[in-house]
Assembly symmetry: D2
Homo-oligomer: 345 residues x 4
């Protein structure tokens, strides 16, 4: 049985990716894609990869009734329009930050407060690897932030194994591509200024710290850098536990956490060019690569995690959560293989 | 019914792309992938996008019997091993230059001669848009060169419409990505030297001139430039016909040639960022984008054609030809949508 | 004796490059840099390479008296403000298109007409290789457009040698970097959309055709492509003369034209990675590289010309013209060596 | 008075950069440039930016007598040939790792031991900001490693101010360009595989840890990532001191250390695109940019340091050390301004 789906905010990057994935999904049918700025234009006029999709953007004020609605709108807009979204669809998958945090009080600390705090506890966090059971049957899913997804996916096995127990030092240094900035960039997003950069941004106080802490139970010192790629987020996590586990214990923790996960693969060492997780290797796919190295000299575990921020970090995660929420085959519509070679994904 | 398939030369770029496509094809099963240099290694150790494919490279000297064999070997090797290939498979799809030209004498002009000239006329040129009827049922298919494919796809409608009649001036300026150089590059292929280049190569006397001329009946003045992308070939063709057609006549020629073609889309003008064919818009797909502009001041038609050299320009074309040769659904295994945004495909 | 200089429009890319060059020039002193949008900010806040220059942008309405004024303003603004500029400075070097064409009537064809047609014949075209004698002593110099500069520099020797005599077919295919678009770009200039492109723009009817024709006496069929670099313009010119010269005659023509030119070097063949002109090899310098190849099969000469559009194609040319106009050492302030290796200039 | 200079290993990247800098230096004259692989070729055939330098590579076995010899040879070669070098020149500036560590025993830990341990204490570490007084008059200078230079330059003021006192946690996450890999790269250095990467390498146990520790008196947990640039090293240092200084105290520490340094500029905050240190802003120059941010939530100081690895990180540092060692003007030959805009330096 095919489920009908709509994408709100479909002319943005995340919205376009959702349209691509819904179009290719065997159990979903894209019936509406809204855009305020591109109403009545074809999807292909904004997203050239969708030139063969026979659909035009419609007005976001006129939502059709669907089985699943994807909200690809800016932070703040989702909480404003959440009642409309829920009236239009049985299942709402929100890709903004508006329902990500479980503790409504945190919105006062990290954002401008929350206008619908009573809904925060209703929403299921959309990252299946840490929250699968709550996503099943949920009618409101809040997908994780891309940087938080990369970090949590990397460190979750250490949390499960008790290596992270709440008071150790964790430094997370994330490198991200320009698609994170969205379709409406300023001077810093221009090709001229953004090419070839290693540019610190949000070096302290990044909002994803709150989200990470909720799921790992430990504070992280987070810093992000813009680098010269378009898709991709790579988290390098430096963990200093009270007691350093052995390499065998690490493997056991990671294998235990992920060996049955369809969208996580462990990449640690080996030979060849691709010995550690890399965004290039997962570009265009919903897979996360996770790996680690033990630094006995410094009492450190270095964990690497790489995702495509448009896929595992947003739209792919949304489809994955949909599959679980609606009881579809968990990997349906997400079996794309990546490309090799590929330049700058 | 599933057809078994093998890829000879599977550790190269083209071979890896063939493995990706065969793996994802609903009617093909990858049973063998050979590599001299990587025998016994996993496919994923060379092609990180194939880490989940459970197969190891085998010795190219021990070919299994299959329905379809893809030869992703260097020029010269195919003609040497063609008897082995044909003994192992009912259908051989060759991706080298060895059987591309229909006139064996041309091999003496452009290559080092041909050791099996009697087979040249047997092989069907693998570009369906110009040779579909001969591919159907063929047991030896020779896929076109990537630059020739881009050029022929761009100009074929003008040939069909009689605008090209053999004696007009045609200049073809092709821009190509670094994957054309193959996996074993020298200093010119290093990241340091190849980044950011506009580098003329084979500015005159490029071998694809012969192939283009066979299919368009006219000599072209061909020049290629390396630019900073990995996948992709973009041909800009400057045509000076005896009599300049009108824009309506051009549209008629191109629509007539391509409106039923599943893998060619016309892109000419319009608004937005993507108004002409671009390799970015087709990266990872088997589609060609074709467009044109009329230059009345100079009596010129400018034709643009963009493909992914790894797909439409080699491995995708091979699958497309397979589908036709073996009577499968013509688009089977080739329904990948491209990515947007994407950096340097 | 040091000449005082001002840069009008100094927060743009060309203006910033002029500030860099004036600052480093042994005989010039930068006394004013104007910017409407950045008035009172430091130069370094806009141009990070100028962080150590102790100067702030001033209001473009309050011009100081100087020896040399550089106008780095948009097309149309120069003709409006030309009287102010000439009142403020003995020598005005204009980098807009406003005084480039010698035939005022051409402005009606290619631009929106000209408000000061009587000044057009007064201005000296600023490319020394074709107009040195008129630049000497000139009080109004109009620097060439970047694409025109690349093309004219490439083809001028053929014009001088009579190979170009007005009626042969010439196709010019130019590849340009994103700095040509200026500091205020739209969606097409974003990193996301501009990375990895081969994007036709102005495929026909480019305004530089007029400028090229004035200096070469022949019509050219011009097409430009955006490629993934920031600085640089590379012109590939396909020339079909009535009679093809020999390679020796070509060398004679090019050596004759350029052997005494300090800012043109001939690069044709040889071994190694850099066998033809490339923008990478001249990035950050005022040099043009020019080379050629003979295509006897097609009766064609292929000429390659590569410049840094910010230097030889605008600001460097302006300094070169200043040196000649004011009787300074011709290479003063322009002795920068390029970088190797360098990524994407 | 002009000093004569030779560059040993001049066909490598560092050697080529040395040739560029010596050529442009007002007080140095390049009289010899050796290369085993390119003997008798022109410098310009390998380094296209040096096409106008009239010199050919000579045999490294036949060293001329000079005032200053630069050794741009691989690690291990310098200690083998050090007597030859010192016989040929009054001042030897070594750019390998062979004489960088002050404690000879460390070579047994991090390298393959040392064949001339008695010379280790003679060599002056070449980074002027931390060792100016010992460089003056030195006849053997060992330039710092590029990653170590970026890190030490970033953290030295904290060491001077006593914020680093030997037992705090310091994580250093460095992003480097492909020129660090040298001119002879393998598959991982190809354009195809290296484009668009965020690739961990030497995630633990990097040799520069030893060098950093010698100068900062504290152990650092060091990890390097390859990113898509050619020139540049960017160090992000996460420091967790026992007691967090105030922002004013930090500024005092950094201003105190660097306000008189000609090649360090403090970049911390402000407006515009370039608010923190970036490799792009210093490409082609000998400047380091250093900045910091205070993270009170996590008790952390984040320090950013950006250099051009070919300049401040090797060849530029070598010239700077030469100027000090030989009593020349300290900034002679190093007054290049960077470029803006620039793509991927």
């Amino acid at each position: 049985m095919t489920l009908t789906a709509s994408v709100v905010g479909a002319s943005g990057f995340t919205g376009g990716e959702l349209c691509r994935l819904v179009t290719a999904h065997p159990d979903l049918e894209l019936v509406q894609a809204t855009s305020r700025s591109a109403t009545n234009k074809t999807l292909g006029s904004v997203h050239p990869n969708l030139r063969e999709v026979d659909l035009r953007f419609s007005d976001p004020g006129e939502l059709q009734d669907v089985d699943v609605l994807y909200a690809g709108v800016p932070h703040g807009v989702s909480m404003e329009r959440i009642d409309d979204f829920r009236a239009a669809a049985d299942t709402v998958i929100d890709l903004s930050a508006d329902f990500r945090l479980r503790d409504a009080a945190q919105y006062d600390v990290w954002y401008d407060g929350h206008s619908r705090p009573e809904l925060v506890s209703e929403a299921a966090y959309g990252l299946p690897e840490v929250n699968r059971e709550n996503i099943a049957g949920a009618d409101l899913v809040a997908c994780g932030g891309c940087n938080a997804t990369a970090t949590i996916t990397g460190l979750h096995p250490l949390y499960e194994a008790g290596v992270l127990d709440g008071d150790e030092r964790v430094v997370v240094d994330v490198k991200v591509g320009s698609s994170e900035g969205g379709a409406s960039g300023g001077a810093a997003s221009s090709h001229v200024e953004r090419s070839g950069v290693v540019r610190p941004y949000a070096p302290t106080g990044h909002r994803h710290e709150a989200e990470i802490q909720e799921h790992l139970g430990t504070e992280v010192s987070f810093t992000a850098h813009a680098v010269d790629m378009v898709r991709g987020a790579s988290a390098t996590c430096h963990v200093f536990p009270d007691e350093l586990p052995s390499k065998a214990e690490l493997w056991q923790a990671y294998r235990g956490a992920y060996e049955d996960e369809p969208f996580v693969r462990l990449v640690a060492g080996g030979s060849g060019v691709y010995r550690y997780p890399e965004p290039k290797a997962v570009a265009g796919t919903n897979s996360a690569e996770v790996g680690f190295e033990l630094d006995e000299r410094n009492g450190r575990i270095v964990v690497f995690s790489a995702i495509d921020n448009m896929m595992k970090g947003s739209a792919g995660q949304a489809i994955h959560a949909t599959n679980i929420a609606r009881g579809l085959d968990e990997t349906a519509g997400l079996d794309q293989l990546g490309l090799h070679p590929v330049g700058k994904p």
